[in-house]
Amino acid sequence: MSPLETIRLVAGREITTRIRSKAFLWTTGLLVVAIVAGGVILNLALDSSSATSVAVTPQTEPLAQPLQAIARANDEAIRIVDVENDAAARAAVADEDADAALTGSPTDFTVVVRSQPDPAQYSMLTVLRQQTALGAAVTDLGGDPEQVAQQLATATVKIQSLDPAPERDGGQIAAGYVAGILLFLALQTTAQLVSQGVVEEKSTRVVELLLSTIRPWQLMAGKVTGIGVIGLLQVVAVIAAAAGTALALGLLDTSSLDLGATIAWALVWFVVGFITFSLALAALASLVSRQEDVASVTAPVLVLMIIPYVIGISIAPWDPTNPIVVALSYIPFAAPMVMPMRIALGTVETWEILASLALSLALIPVLVWGAGRIYSNAVLRTGARVRLRDALRAG
C-alpha cells in the first residue's frame, strides 16, 4: 500500500467520523443560521434607522423638495408625511408618527421636534432655512432664485490631498471584521481538533496499534489533511451563507468591496493558516497523554493566534495602514488572520499579499520537519509529559 493511500485512508476516517458527529453538524448549522440571522437583523436596523420622517402642511409643502435634495446630498433619507395643518403636524410629532414637522410658512417656518433635533437633522434644516432666506433675498433684489440655486450647485470645492487616507466604506469594514473573526474562529477550532485528535489516539493507546502498521508521519499527515478538509467545508459553508445573505439583501450594493477576491483570499489564507497552526499543535499535543494537559501544552501557540487577532481586529478596520497591522500581516502565524482583514478593507496591493504568502509558505517545510520529528518521537511515549527538547533530540 502506497503512503499516499495510507494518508487517504487516515484522512477519510477523520472526515467520516466528524461528519457523523452530531456536535459537528450542530455547530456548522448554528453558525450558518447565526450568519443569516445577523445579516437580516443588520438589514432591518439599516432600514429603520435610515429614513427620517418629516411632516409638512399644505403651507410648508413647497419645502419638501429642497429638503429631499439636501438630504440626498448628505447621504441621508427623508420620508415626507403630509398632514392637514399645523396642529395636525404637531400631533404627528407628539404621537411619534413623524420625527419632525415643518409648520408656519415656507419663508418663515418652525421645526417641531419632540425634544431636540439630532445633529444631522439640525444641519440639514439650517441649510434649508438658509436657502429659503437666500431665495427670498434674491427675489427681493429682483433676481431669479432658481438660477442662483443652479449656480450654487455647480460650485464645488477642489481638494488636493497630499497624503490621502485610504477610502473604505461600511461594507468593507464589515467584511474586514467578518474575515478576521471567521478566520480566527475557524483556525482556532480546527487546529484544536487536530491537537485533540492526537491526544485522543495517544490516551486511548490506539496509536500503538496504528503505528505497528503505518508510519507516524503518515498518521499525522492524514489527520491534518482530514481535519483540514472538514474545516475548509465549514468555512466555505459560512462564507457562502454570509455572501449569500449580503447579496440577497443588497447589503453590499453601495460598497466597493471586492467580494470575489476577498472570499478567494480568505480560503487561501485559511488553508495556509490551518497547515501552520495544525502542524504546531499536533507536535505539541503529542507530548502529553491526557486531554486535560492539552491546553497547557498548546497555550503558547494559541497565544500566537490570539494576540495578532486582537490587535488586528481592534486596529485594522479603523486604521488599515497602521504599521503594527502591516507588520503583523507579513509575519507567519499572524498573517493568516491579519492579511485577510486588510484584503477585505481593500487597502493592500496584490504584491503585498503574495509576499506575505511566500513568507508563510516558506515556514511550512520547517514546520513539517520539526513537527514530524517531535510527533514521531513523542507520540508513543505515554505517561508523563515529554519534554520538547527530548522529543526534538531523540530518535
Partner: protein, 318 residues
C-alpha cells in the same frame, strides 16, 4: 517454514536495562508463551518485535530477514494497554484497521463479518466501542489483530479480563491460527493457561530469558521427582540413592528429588523405589510433575546473574 527470531535484543530506559541480549525463536505453527514477573521486559520485547519501539541493539527477523514495515504490517498485534477509538463503531473500526493493513474493501468486509462471528460480537457491529463491556472490547481488540489474516500474531496479555467462555474461544482461535501455520507469541500471568495452550514457554527475568523450552523440557531440567508412599524418610533410605534429596515429607508420603541424572530418569526412579522397598512396604509410587507455577517460581527466584546463567532447556532445543 519461516521463523520469527528475536536476536540479542537490548533496550534501556535511562539507567534501567529493560532487555539484556534477549533472544527467542518462534516457528510457524507454534504457540509460544511468554511469562515473567511484572516489569521483566515482556511488553518491551513484544513492542520491539512489532516495530513500535526501537531496540538499542539486536534485531528482529522474519524468515531470516530483518523485519521492516512491510513485515510488521502483517503482524497481528494486541497491545498491553488496549487501544481502540472509543467513539467509533465496531464494524467501521475493524474495517478501517483491516484497510490500514493493506486489505481491499471487500476483503476487509468479509474478514470483519467472519471474525466478529467467530468471537461472538457480530451483533454489536453498529455500536460504538465504548458501549461494549470490557470483555467484549477485548474481543474486538483480538478481532483487530485478526481481520487482516496476519502472518504472525503477537499478543500482550490477551487473556486478562476475560471470562472462562471467552478464554476458551480465544484459546481455540489461537490454536487454529497456529495450526494454519501462524507463529503465535503471547504473554500471560495465567500460568495454567500457558501450560495448557503453549507448545513452548519462555521465562523472562530482568530482561533476559532464563528458561526456554516445551513444558516437558522445562520440567525435566529441574531435578526428577518421585513421590513415595511407604517407609518414612527418616529411616534413611533416600540417602542410599546417588544425587537424591528429600523435598518434602507429609505423613507417610515422601517426595524425593534426584539431580544430575539426565537421560536416565527411569533408572533413577527404579533406584528410589528399590531403596524404599528395602526398608519397608511401598503402597504407592510415581513421578511428580511440577507445574509451570513451580518452574516459574524456581526460575525467577534463582539468584544467579541472568546475563551469565545458562538458560534452562536451551540446549534441549538446539
Amino acid at each position: 517454514m519461516p521463523e520469527l527470531e528475536l536476536v540479542k535484543l537490548d533496550k534501556s530506559y535511562g539507567d534501567v536495562r529493560a532487555l539484556r541480549e534477549l533472544s527467542l525463536t518462534v516457528g510457524s505453527g507454534e504457540i509460544f508463551g511468554f511469562v515473567g514477573s511484572n516489569g521483566a521486559g515482556k511488553t518491551t520485547a513484544m513492542r520491539i518485535a512489532v516495530g513500535v519501539l526501537a531496540a538499542d541493539g539486536g534485531e528482529v527477523r522474519w524468515a531470516g530477514r530483518p523485519v521492516d514495515l512491510a513485515v510488521s504490517r502483517r503482524i497481528g498485534y494486541m497491545p498491553e494497554e488496549r487501544g481502540l477509538y472509543p467513539r467509533m463503531r465496531v464494524g467501521s473500526q475493524l474495517r478501517y484497521l483491516a484497510r490500514l493493513h493493506g486489505r481491499s474493501p471487500e476483503q476487509a468486509e468479509q474478514a470483519v463479518q467472519r471474525w466478529t462471528q467467530v468471537l461472538g460480537i457480530s451483533n454489536r457491529l453498529d455500536d460504538d466501542v465504548q458501549k461494549l463491556s470490557l470483555g467484549n472490547q477485548q474481543r474486538v481488540q483480538l478481532c483487530a489483530a485478526l481481520v487482516f489474516e496476519p502472518d504472525i500474531l503477537i499478543l500482550d496479555e490477551p487473556f486478562s479480563g476475560l471470562d472462562p467462555v471467552a478464554v476458551d474461544v480465544m484459546s481455540r482461535v489461537l490454536r487454529a491460527q497456529a495450526d494454519a501455520g501462524v507463529p503465535v507469541v503471547f504473554s500471560s500471568h495465567q500460568l495454567d493457561l500457558v501450560e495448557r495452550l503453549c507448545d513452548r514457554v519462555g521465562i523472562i527475568k530482568e530482561g533476559s530469558m532464563v528458561a526456554v523450552g516445551s513444558i516437558d523440557e522445562l520440567r525435566s531440567r529441574g531435578g526428577l521427582r518421585w513421590q513415595v508412599q511407604g517407609p518414612p524418610a527418616d529411616a534413611g533410605w533416600p540417602g542410599t540413592v546417588p544425587g537424591a534429596r528429600v523435598v518434602s515429607i507429609e505423613g507417610p508420603t515422601t517426595v524425593v528429588e534426584v539431580v544430575d541424572r539426565d537421560g536416565e530418569a527411569d533408572q533413577a526412579g527404579q533406584e528410589v523405589l528399590r531403596a524404599a522397598m528395602a526398608v519397608g512396604p511401598v503402597h504407592a509410587f510415581g513421578p511428580v510433575r511440577p507445574h509451570l507455577v513451580e518452574l516459574f517460581r524456581h526460575a525467577v527466584s534463582d539468584s544467579t546473574d541472568p546475563s551469565t546463567g545458562t538458560p534452562i532447556g536451551e540446549e534441549a532445543r538446539q
